[in-house]
């Protein structure tokens, strides 16, 4: 059942729990994300941020609770998994571009294989996206020949080529040199302004303050605080003790 009502949340997480072996990594995580909302997930290292967003497109399997994406419940039904994955794009910390394919092939592969687009159409679309991430001239290079910032922008274009409704970012700038962080963040800001639903795990507080609609603060597998960025980063207001400790360190 797909919901076309813009008021309905596009992602619903209801009390999800996950264990790695006996280690309880996500504990009763519940959150609803609206269409066109930009959610930034922050929290100390090892708090379960990656695990959380990887559960949303089923790169990790949760054991309890419900995840419903665009009206489709995420369970063991393979068709549902495929449907959900094709609506969610993901960008990784380590880019994960396919080194044996050119930039253009990296972008066109999934549209041609999964969406059954023609090569011409996929390539036309790919070039548009490369314009959008501002590296059209790199189309025929291999990933190994690009800088980190360029690679991450290709990775974003690759995810966008599937025309997803939701984009997940897992620390997209953490493996980049400072001068490259900016170019990637610019692309992400453009994307946010264009109305894409986004969940970003990031340590870029400037980015969070500028574009986030909401901040989720994770600690030890739980969401301990959430709020709009203005309030969240305001040290004057009352915070959870873990949040305060975290903010004290970074601000």
């Amino acid at each position: 059942m797909k919901s076309n009502n813009p008021q309905d949340p596009i992602i619903v997480c209801n009390k999800i729990n996950k264990w790695y072996g006996d280690f309880h990594v996500l504990r009763d995580v519940s959150v609803e994300i609206q269409q066109r909302e930009v959610v930034v997930v922050i929290g100390p290292s090892g708090s379960g941020k990656s695990t959380f967003i990887r559960c949303i497109n089923r790169l990790e399997e949760h054991q309890e609770g419900d995840i419903i994406v665009d009206g489709i419940p995420l369970g063991n039904d393979i068709r549902n998994i495929a449907a959900i994955r094709s609506e969610i794009g993901m960008v990784f910390q380590q880019f994960n571009l396919f080194p044996h394919l050119t930039v253009l092939q990296n972008i066109t592969l999934a549209p041609m294989q999964v969406r059954r687009q023609s090569r011409a159409e996929a390539e036309r679309k790919a070039m548009e996206l490369l314009e959008r991430v501002r590296i059209p001239e790199q189309a025929n290079k291999y990933p190994g020949q690009l800088s980190g910032g360029q690679q991450q922008r290709v990775a974003i274009a690759r995810a966008l080529a599937m025309e997803p409704k939701i984009m997940l970012f897992d620390e997209p700038t953490s493996a980049l040199d400072p001068e490259m962080i900016k170019e990637v963040l610019e692309v992400m800001k453009d994307l946010a302004r264009s109305g894409m639903t986004m969940i970003c795990v990031t340590h870029e507080m400037g980015f969070a303050q500028e574009v986030a609609d909401r901040i989720l603060f994770f600690d030890q597998g739980r969401i301990v605080e959430e709020g709009d960025p203005h309030t969240f980063f305001n040290l004057e207001v009352e915070h959870h003790e873990r949040t305060r400790a975290f903010l004290d360190q970074i601000l």
């Binding site: 990784f92 291999y142 020949q145």
Partner: protein
């Protein structure tokens, strides 16, 4: 204090210059690789001396001593084994070779580029192939010497009887001449240094002459020692008695003992019936000569009716050379070329044919040996008539190098031609229909489809030949090619199966197959295929041995390949699969598009190593002689080198990772 103590601005520019001469180019390479430090220099010099010594020794051996005849006269045997008996099979193998050569030309253009230098090398090679025989053919060929007459020659414990009748082979229009070997019989000294084809009796003469010269030298030393007055009496007695024995034995020369000086010979040439007289002459002086031009190809008989009883004559023959006898079995053929089938077994009926082939060139005939008085005439065979003495360069050129280059040239020139043709055609194609980037060159498509269809084409070409007769390098090549091509998909499937954690049955089956096959040596697998299988099911014995060997080799190489591929799969970071999954690709797509292509690229060196060892394993090299073995190794090396070269090309292509780390 002025503030410029902590702030400076440098405006002077240092212009860019070329790198020092000694660090680039040939000089730089030498310094960098061979003379980097004093220790390197010493190693280089030692290695240099060693290499030069070995090379000189090798050259001397290969020119003066090595027996290259077995390589030269058995080239086709080495290449295709007993298939050579069947002209139709030879045609098919040739056709297959040419098709492959064409394919290589096409691929060269599609995936690589042959520059002016490459074509220069090809042209040079062709020129050498044409020029060497042209230059060596006019050189004089060495004589054959035989002892005729009635005095047996004693050498050590064996006695060699002179030959008075000799059946030899020759081609139409060739001129043969027979003389007295007067340069050799001039003195024992001359007799001890032959450089000819000689029969056993003449060889005995040569050793006798050498022995006599050695005794003379010994005698001279003894005489010198006896001059010494300080010599003790007992030693003097021993030496004196040795001197007396030696000088008694040395009284007669070898030439005198065997009466090589006594008189001439009366020689004649008969036709292959042993009766018809074709030519005759009496030889008494060094200038006398029997010269005869052979009217047709076939057997002839040379006879000496010795003029003086109790003498020997050493004859030098030019244009008459020893022959090798070789036999094949081959399918007996109907007049229309189809094989005659045995009505009971429905297998081709085999006939045996015997050929005589001259050692000095490719001349061969299948006619039966002439009969004299009801028995086969004594044949002029290589086994009894080896090359005697140390071979001078001239003989090496005319007997070995020239014929070898001519022979291989007949094969190589068409191959080079077809490679060039394939290349040229594809070049023209790419010129006429240039690709619109990023589409690949048209020649690549052509090459891809051509290789995809190649197995079928080759199968069609060789299907009609008899698998029982497959042999030589051809068989090795076929086994390797089939082994690689067929085992590749099987090996990949086994590798994927072994990693399929969700399908335990498949997984453990694959592990079982892989580990079982890897646990036994290839020879065991071959043995099972060729001997044990037919026992299990008699119907299997109908399957030709070569085919059973192919199956065995395929399974064997698939198991090894599976492990290599699995290694490659393991080396792929999990992020690759995650990224592909996140894009919505299904497991099959992820495997075919993402993991396998990367895994295969990563294990190319291992795969090529495996292909090379497969290629070597597929033949059990019977060592026919060092020369043969060396020749085979060279052929092996070329093939292995080509495989390694192709591997490097693939590694260089397409992988960004490889590009990045390359210096």
């Amino acid at each position: 204090m002025t503030p410029d103590s902590y702030k400076r601005i440098y405006t002077q520019d240092t212009p860019r210059r070329h790198a020092p001469v000694a660090s680039t180019g040939l000089l730089g390479w030498l310094r960098h690789n061979l003379f980097r430090s004093w220790f390197d220099t010493i190693l280089t010099l030692i290695a240099g001396v060693l290499v030069v010594n070995v090379l000189i020794g090798f050259l001397q051996w290969s020119i003066a001593d090595a027996n290259w005849y077995s390589v030269l006269r058995n080239l086709s045997n080495l290449m295709i084994g007993s298939m050579q008996a069947d002209p139709a099979a030879i045609d098919r193998v040739n056709l297959m070779t040419l098709v492959l050569a064409f394919g290589i030309g096409v691929s060269l253009r599609a995936w690589s580029r042959v520059g002016l230098r490459g074509w220069g090398i090809v042209a040079l090679l062709a020129a050498v192939i044409v020029a060497v025989p042209a230059l060596t053919n006019p050189l004089p060929k060495p004589d054959s010497v035989i002892v005729t007459g009635s005095l047996p020659v004693v050498s050590g414990s064996v006695t060699e009887t002179p030959i008075n009748t000799l059946a030899f082979i020759g081609g139409q229009g060739e001129t043969v001449s027979v003389r007295l070997a007067s340069t050799l019989t001039a003195s024992d000294e001359a007799l001890s240094r032959p450089a000819n084809f000689g029969d056993r009796a003449s060889d005995a003469l040569f050793s006798a002459a050498r022995a006599r010269l050695a005794s003379q030298a010994r005698l001279a030393t003894i005489e010198a020692s006896l001059q010494d007055t300080a010599l003790p009496d007992n030693e003097r007695a021993v030496l004196t008695s040795e001197r007396d024995t030696l000088s008694a034995a040395l009284e007669a020369t070898v030439i005198g003992t065997y009466r090589l000086d006594a008189g001439g010979a009366s020689v004649r040439i008969l036709a292959n019936d042993g009766i018809t007289l074709l030519a005759e002459a009496t030889l008494t002086t060094p200038d006398d000569q029997l010269t005869f031009t052979l009217p047709s190809s076939g057997w002839y008989v040379l006879q000496n009716t010795a003029t003086v009883e109790g003498t020997n004559v050493l004859l030098a023959m030019n244009g008459i050379y020893p022959a090798l006898e070789r036999s094949f079995t081959r399918p007996s053929l109907n007049p229309d070329g189809s094989p005659v089938l045995d009505p009971r077994t429905n297998q081709p009926r085999l006939v045996s044919i015997t050929q005589h082939a001259r050692v000095t060139d490719d001349f061969a005939i299948a006619e039966p040996v002439p009969k004299l008085d009801g028995a086969d005439a004594t044949r002029y065979l290589f086994v009894n008539n080896a090359y005697r003495g140390s071979r001078p360069l001239n003989d090496y050129l005319v007997l070995h190098l020239g014929p070898f280059v001519e022979r291989t040239g007949r094969v190589l020139l068409p191959i080079l031609g077809l490679v060039a043709l394939g290349y040229a055609l594809m070049q023209a194609l790419d010129r006429v229909l240039p690709p619109t980037p990023p589409a690949p060159k048209l020649s690549r498509r052509v090459a891809f489809w051509m290789w995809a269809l190649m197995p079928i084409v080759i199968y069609i070409i060789i299907a009609s030949t008899n698998p029982q007769a497959w042999g030589g390098l051809f068989l090795t090549f076929l086994l390797t090619a089939v082994g690689i091509v067929v085992s590749f998909p099987i090996g990949v499937l086994l590798a994927l199966g072994r990693r399929a954690d969700d399908l335990p049955v498949v997984k453990y089956f694959c592990i079982l197959v892989i580990e079982f096959v890897r646990g036994v040596p290839l020879i065991t697998v071959l043995f099972l295929a060729s001997l044990a299988l037919p026992l299990v099911n008699p119907a299997l014995s109908e399957v030709p041995g070569a085919v059973r060997a192919m199956v065995a080799i395929t399974i064997f190489s698939a198991a090894y390949l599976a492990e290599n591929v699995r290694g490659g799969l393991q080396s792929i970071p999990p992020g690759q699969v995650e990224a592909a999954k996140a894009l919505g690709m299904n497991p099959v797509q992820v495997t075919l598009r993402i993991t396998l292509p990367q895994a295969l690229r990563a294990v190319i060196p291992a795969l090529v190593g495996q292909c090379i060892s497969l290629f070597k394993d597929t033949s059990l090299v019977a060592i026919v002689g060092l020369a043969t073995y060396l020749f085979i190794s060279i052929v092996y090396f070329i093939f292995s080198f080509v495989m390694a070269y192709v591997s490097r090309k693939i590694e260089d292509s397409g992988s960004g990772v490889a590009r990045q780390v390359k210096l």
